[in-house]
């Protein structure tokens, strides 16, 4: 039942390493990795805990603005410090939003994550002096990494790839850990999990906080990719896109998030060049996948390898 099987992870490492040789567009690939982090953070909640978060952009935005402001206003910030600050801000925001949202039951908790996202968007929009409002926050510098310049797009891709792989590996470990097992017990039957002695609320809020930290890192990587923090990092469209990527890839495996993010990023790039109404095609694809492959695109892998033990059921509701 081990998801941290080295095999699958090594395949991922290899794919990430050779991707720029196949797709000669490192900015797009970097964006795919960043979306991969966001989708993986979302799937940790939906796939493992069974909690649908409709406000993941809140923590992406917190990370992006935290790192952005730091890099705009403070000279010589090491890149890892920028990522760490972003992770802490994402985690802190998620701790508050998670603790308050989980007060609500069922669909109310989902709606609360959405409401907090709207609140975060409104704040980012109103605090123009800080965030630049709808003009965005400009002048975000991209620091070097232990003396290596990341100014080139390929160099930055490989830096983000390393961050992505480290974070994703940590998530795989978490999913297999005692903590991850409790999350799945809560997903299956929260009252029974409480009856056997688990403080389910603490587990849920902790998972939410970790998801926020990962989303914060993604936000920071995004800010440094474009040297700019657009207001979109925190808007509801971004939250929706994260949901789409998560469900497109499938919540039955953590790798599903990456598949979903890759398909979403590459396809929306291609389609947007072909046709102005491309989101329509994306929507049709999304519906088709969700209706025919309830476990998302990653389900295909499971069907091809029937011996693979299913760690969890595909999404049944929502």
């Amino acid at each position: 039942m081990n998801v941290a099987r080295p095999g699958a992870f090594l395949v991922l490492v290899a794919l990430v390493a050779v991707a720029p040789l196949v797709v000669h567009y490192p900015v797009l690939l970097t964006q795919a990795l960043i979306f991969g982090l966001l989708a993986a953070a979302f799937n940790l909640l939906l796939g493992e805990l069974g909690f649908l978060s409709f406000g993941q952009a809140t923590f992406n935005g917190l990370g992006a603005y935290a790192a952005g402001l730091l890099l705009v206003h403070v000279a010589h910030v090491p890149i890892l410090v920028a990522l760490l600050v972003a992770a802490l801000c994402g985690a802190g925001g998620a701790l508050v939003v998670g603790a308050l949202s989980m007060q609500g039951a069922g669909v109310y908790a989902v709606m609360l994550t959405f409401a907090f996202n709207e609140l975060a968007f409104y704040l980012a929009f109103q605090l123009r002096d800080l965030t630049g409002g709808d003009n965005g926050l400009r002048g975000v510098v991209r620091p070097e990494f232990i003396g290596i310049s990341l100014a080139g797009e390929n160099a930055y891709y490989y830096f983000v790839a390393a961050v992505f792989l480290v974070v994703f590996y940590a998530l795989l470990r978490l999913i297999d850990s005692p903590f991850g097992h409790v999350l799945r017990a809560i997903r299956e039957n929260e009252p029974r999990a409480r009856a056997i002695g688990y403080d389910t609320r603490r587990f849920k809020v902790t998972a939410f906080t970790i998801s926020g930290a990962v989303s914060g890192i993604a936000g920071a990587a995004y800010a440094m990719l474009y040297g700019f923090v657009p207001l979109e990092v925190v808007n509801f469209d971004t939250s929706t896109n994260i949901v789409i990527m998560g469900l497109l890839g499938g919540t039955g495996s953590p790798y599903g998030a990456i598949v979903g993010a890759a398909i979403f990023t590459l396809l929306s790039d291609r389609l947007s060049r072909l046709w102005a109404h491309w989101p329509l095609l994306l929507g049709i694809l999304f519906c088709t996948v969700v209706l025919t492959l309830r476990g998302g695109v990653i389900e295909i892998v499971h069907r091809l390898r029937p011996s693979t033990p299913r760690r969890k059921a595909p999404l049944r509701s929502g």
């Binding site: 470990r173 005692p178 903590f179 097992h181 409790v182 029974r192 009856a195 056997i196 688990y198 587990f203």
Partner: protein
């Protein structure tokens, strides 16, 4: 006077709006005994269990466990004190394997549940305990099967196995044979016989033969309150009980 029990209640009451589901119940469960609670449908037996396990707060009255008042403790805290409970309606982790159902329950007794780096498989004691409980329940061959896909009888055994995995001092079993018949019912009764030798048990059960055979003490409930209590022989001889309950069941 009966000796002070492992579990006691004092004038325990629970109302839902107008319905008084549990009405001034004084219960005394001695350690190492099997205490059966019987009574017709709607008598308040499950509600009493909910009050004992901490799933619900009483309207008034108190619950005492090992001479400590636990009325205000929630279900999680009572689980850690050693009160384990199985449910009348099968209440398992359906999409997880039978093994994982029991394993995650056993894991709740460790300090390791917030560990996020080492795989859960490293918790060797937990794995061994889970395996032993499955073996004991006769579910070893079904360990890797998805719990929700098990047959009814196996699910009922798993339901109890989850409670056992939390290493309870007191086991509350709510109609463990509910919904079973024939072979399955017999298997479950054999299981309860085995457990009766090892645990202090409060058992809600409609099967009178089993109750009369295993109980040290029986409490009969009707309309939320205690109608009678005593040894199986006393209960069998009680005319009130015969009229209200036993009579209707032959």
């Amino acid at each position: 006077m009966t000796p002070v029990g492992m579990l006691r209640t004092e004038k325990l009451c629970k109302s839902f709006g107008g319905t008084v589901a549990v009405d001034s119940v004084d219960l005394n469960v001695r350690a190492a005994s099997l205490h059966a609670i019987i009574g017709p449908n709607g008598a308040g037996k499950t509600t009493l269990f909910n009050l004992l396990a901490g799933e619900m707060r009483p309207t008034s009255g108190g619950v005492f466990f090992e001479d400590r008042e636990i009325t205000r403790l929630d279900v999680r805290e009572r689980s850690h004190l050693g009160i384990g409970r199985s449910f009348q309606r099968t209440n398992i982790f359906r999409a997880l394997s039978a093994y994982e159902n029991v394993r995650v329950a056993a894991q709740s007794r460790t300090q390791a549940s917030f560990a996020m780096w080492e795989p859960a498989t490293r918790l060797r004691d937990v794995a061994a305990r889970a395996q032993a409980i499955l073996d004991d329940a006769g579910l070893a061959a079904l360990a890797v099967r998805t719990a929700g896909e098990l047959a009814g009888g196996d699910q009922r055994l798993l339901e109890i196995a989850i409670a056992l995995a939390t290493a309870p001092k007191l086991l509350l079993l709510d109609e463990p044979s509910q919904g079973l018949s024939g072979e399955d019912a017999l298997r479950l009764m054999a299981r309860i016989r085995t457990l009766a030798e090892r645990y202090t048990i409060v058992l809600i059960e409609h099967n009178m033969n089993l109750v009369m055979e295993l109980s040290d003490e029986i409490t009969v409930m009707n309309f939320g309150s205690i109608l009678a209590r005593g040894t199986p022989a006393e209960i069998r001889a009680d005319p009130q009980v015969r009229e209200a309950y036993l009579g209707s069941r032959g």
